[in-house]
């Protein structure tokens, strides 16, 4: 009787050790497989994908569509495989992973409360391991990722808004050059300079706009235009305009360089 009990205890201990090894194998395997599936490179031309951040992939598609439209190509509707990849990613990240993880936690709490002798290799362990790989992995990287994304987005907005302001200034300086050319060409009876820049003044609509303030220094056959950004007072552009409204000697302040 004693021998039988002792042998049963030894068998149980062996089984427990084997179960622990299997559980660790599953953990290591999941640790390798899940990230490799999630982080494999996605070819933006389409096809199935799985990503922990499907919105990043869809964001990439949005930019790609913008570039296509910019080059005159009409973007195509994403394939069913791409859509399923997107749906699959949401399901893994927000449904399957958390459900396995949280139900695993609940099962373990119930088992513990019942005072059962627990085997390592049990369903609730697998649930917690598999679900935890996804849920805890994402939880750990979610906050720094969100902060980095916000920073990148903010810098991008700032840079592009400055570039937009500079482009608007260049466009308006071109309009000033055309007005100057027109003035020089028109005869005096039509409000022109009859071959000269003398007497040209920037009207209110040309001297101050929502983008910049402009000044013009007239010389014999040239004019020097200077723009000072209204939105970014450190942003200035200076250029020389010739008799045919052609620009030369561009000078940009550091902000617009």
């Amino acid at each position: 009787m004693n021998q039988t009990t002792e042998s049963a205890v030894i068998d149980a201990a062996k089984t427990r050790r084997l179960q622990t090894i299997i559980v660790w194998c599953v953990i290591v395997l999941c640790g390798i497989l899940i990230p490799s599936i999630f982080f494999r490179s996605y070819n933006t031309t389409g096809g199935f994908f799985l990503s922990p951040f499907p919105w990043v992939i869809v964001g990439g598609m949005t930019i790609e569509h913008g570039l296509q439209m910019n080059s005159g190509t009409i973007p195509e509707i994403p394939s069913i495989a791409t859509q399923l990849g997107c749906l699959g990613s949401i399901l893994i990240v927000f449904v399957i992973g958390p459900t396995l993880f949280f139900f695993g936690i609940k099962s373990r709490a119930v088992e513990r409360a019942a005072g059962k002798e627990l085997s390592v290799f049990r369903w609730s362990t697998l649930q917690v391991v598999l679900g935890g790989m996804v849920t805890l992995g994402l939880a750990l990287i979610s906050i720094p990722t969100a902060i980095i994304q916000r920073e990148v987005s903010s810098n991008l907005h700032k840079a592009q808004t400055e570039a937009e302001n500079r482009d608007a200034i260049l466009y308006e300086m071109n309009s000033i050059a055309l007005k100057l050319y027109e003035y020089r060409v028109l005869p005096k009876e039509l409000g022109g300079g009859s071959g000269s820049f003398a007497g040209f003044t920037l009207g209110k609509d040309l001297s101050t706009t929502s983008d910049a303030q402009y000044t013009l220094e007239l010389q014999d056959t040239l004019a020097i235009a200077k723009a000072t950004s209204v939105k970014y007072p450190l942003g200035t552009v200076t250029a020389t305009i010739n008799r045919q409204a052609k620009f030369s000697k561009w000078q940009f302040s550091e902000l617009f360089n």
Partner: protein, 210 residues
């Protein structure tokens, strides 16, 4: 019980994902699926976070989940706003470049014609159209006078009116987007931008059609 929740969650999110009509833009589907997933997670946590899980564990799990979901949501929304803004910027930059190129090309051609017109000794004999044709002998109404300096270009500057007292050049682009999507341009895709430059004896007037 877990399988009911899994099955229910998958069905709910899948249905929500396919509610928006299939289009080029995947964001509506993704957002609908995301909202359904969020509702599912709230309901599931409400079910899970009960006894026998200790209260302290419930609080930790609840707070950690809230923070993670909030961060993921912020990342998601940030990506949506940034990429859509960038897409619009790409299109508006294209339009700005095309308008800039047109405005530094067509009006100068017309002002050059005006210069020659007024340079004639009095009394003037040649009309605006004649001076224009002297500079562009091949031009006629409907012809393109723009020559790209960078090879193939989708921009055109058409002569659309050519008379003694008025010359109109219409700048079009094959696909660069203008302000109104339903605008039918002189040339190019519906909704493409269009600028007009009108030369009279009084000077050059610019009208932005789209």
């Amino acid at each position: 019980m877990i399988f009911r929740w899994l099955f229910g969650g998958i069905i709910l999110v899948s249905l929500a994902f396919f509610i928006p009509a299939r289009s080029v833009d995947l964001w509506p589907s993704l957002n609908a699926g995301g909202i359904a997933a969020l509702l599912f997670m709230i309901a599931m946590l409400g079910y899970i976070l009960r006894a026998p899980i200790p209260i302290s564990h419930r609080i930790v799990i609840g707070v950690a989940t809230f923070l993670s979901v909030a961060a993921l949501g912020a990342h998601w929304m940030g990506m949506l706003n940034t990429t859509q803004w960038q897409q619009n910027r790409l299109l508006s930059i294209k339009a700005a470049i095309v308008r800039g190129t047109m405005t530094s090309d067509a009006p100068i051609r017309l002002l050059s014609v005006l210069e020659d017109y007024y340079a004639q000794p009095k009394p003037k004999k040649r009309s605006l159209a004649k001076v224009f044709l002297q500079k562009y002998p091949e031009a006629k109404v409907g012809s393109n006078i723009y020559e790209s300096s960078v090879g193939e270009d989708s921009m055109r500057v058409f002569v659309t009116t050519l008379s003694d007292s008025i010359v109109v050049l219409t700048g079009s682009h094959a696909y660069a987007k203008g302000r109104a999507d339903d605008f039918v341009p002189y040339w190019g895709r519906k909704g493409a931008l269009q600028e007009r430059y009108i030369l009279t004896e009084k000077g050059v007037r610019h009208e932005s059609d789209n």
